[in-house]
Amino acid sequence: MTNDTMTNVKKKYILKPGKHQFVPGSSATHHNDNLSDAEAEWYIEKYPHIKDLFEINSADKLRTVPTINEAVESPEQSVQSQNKSEQSNPNEDLPTTN
């Protein structure tokens, strides 16, 4: 599985959280766990507008990137988890708003 191969790989191009479209109207399939540095470079060259979707580390600051599963346990991601739980409360209103 792609996630396994990407575990603890030091990456230069860190794709910001979420599933991204790289081309307008395409399927949002790109996320940090399924994109290697080589692929990221290729996409950025072909589609320069996506550069802002990346956090680009210089060569001496390559970071170890946790996978989605590992990220749940990290403090940074736990904030997002908390946010989602906060967002889930208003979801109760969905049946009436739709």
């Binding site: 790289f22 109207g25 208003p90 708003t97």
Partner: protein, 196 residues
């Protein structure tokens, strides 16, 4: 694979922030091929980012008197639920530039973002036409019509034979640091709006 056909929550009626009707009299409209979307990792109903292609901009159409409206309606098909979308709005103006924009919306596909009056919800700001875009299907101006007073009455809908596979998406864009809120989402949208 996610369990897509099992509900996992109910709804309790309460007096805390009751739902209210209507949308604000403005819609943000952009050309579908001018922006890429970022979705929440686990929930495709949440759009967490808009990225402009070639410095493209969002255009804001403003109205008044609660005259804008959005409609989303489920259409049952042999392959599952699909959703038809409609946005009713108007332009209280009459010029070549207005006509030019209306003509363009009749040919090209656009996406539209509305802001519900009920903004206590996490889906207060909604994106229409995320997959197939919208086109202008009604653009009516009756010069002597007192209701519109000579302005254009407009409707954006799904293109012929196309519907959306999801209900309107919630737009929820976080600030540079912190949690996405109504205010941070509006600020992000306004930053993309063209300024004359």
């Amino acid at each position: 694979m996610s369990i897509y056909n099992k509900i996992n929550a109910g709804f309790a009626l309460g007096t805390d922030e009751p739902v209210t009707a209507g949308i604000e009299d403005l819609i943000y409209v952009f050309n579908q091929d001018d922006f890429t979307l970022t979705f929440d990792t686990t929930n495709p109903l949440i759009v967490t980012g808009l990225t402009a292609v070639n410095a493209a901009k969002v255009y804001k159409f403003e109205g008044t008197n609660n005259s804008f409206n959005t409609t989303s309606k489920l259409a049952k098909t042999s392959v599952g639920p699909r959703y038809t979308e409609e946005i009713d709005f108007n332009v209280a103006g009459f010029s070549i530039d207005v006509k030019t924009q209306l003509q363009a919306m009749g040919y090209g596909r656009v996406c539209a973002i509305s802001v519900n009056n009920y903004n206590s919800s996490d889906t207060a700001i909604e994106l229409f036409g995320a997959v197939n875009g919208l086109i202008l299907t009604d653009a009516e101006r009756s010069a002597a019509d007192e209701t519109m007073d000579g302005g254009y009455k407009l409707k954006l809908t799904n293109p012929d034979k196309l519907r959306e596979p999801y209900p309107p998406r919630a737009v929820s864009i976080a600030p540079t640091s912190g949690t996405a809120t109504f205010a941070s989402t509006i600020a992000a949208l306004e930053a993309l709006v063209v300024t004359s």
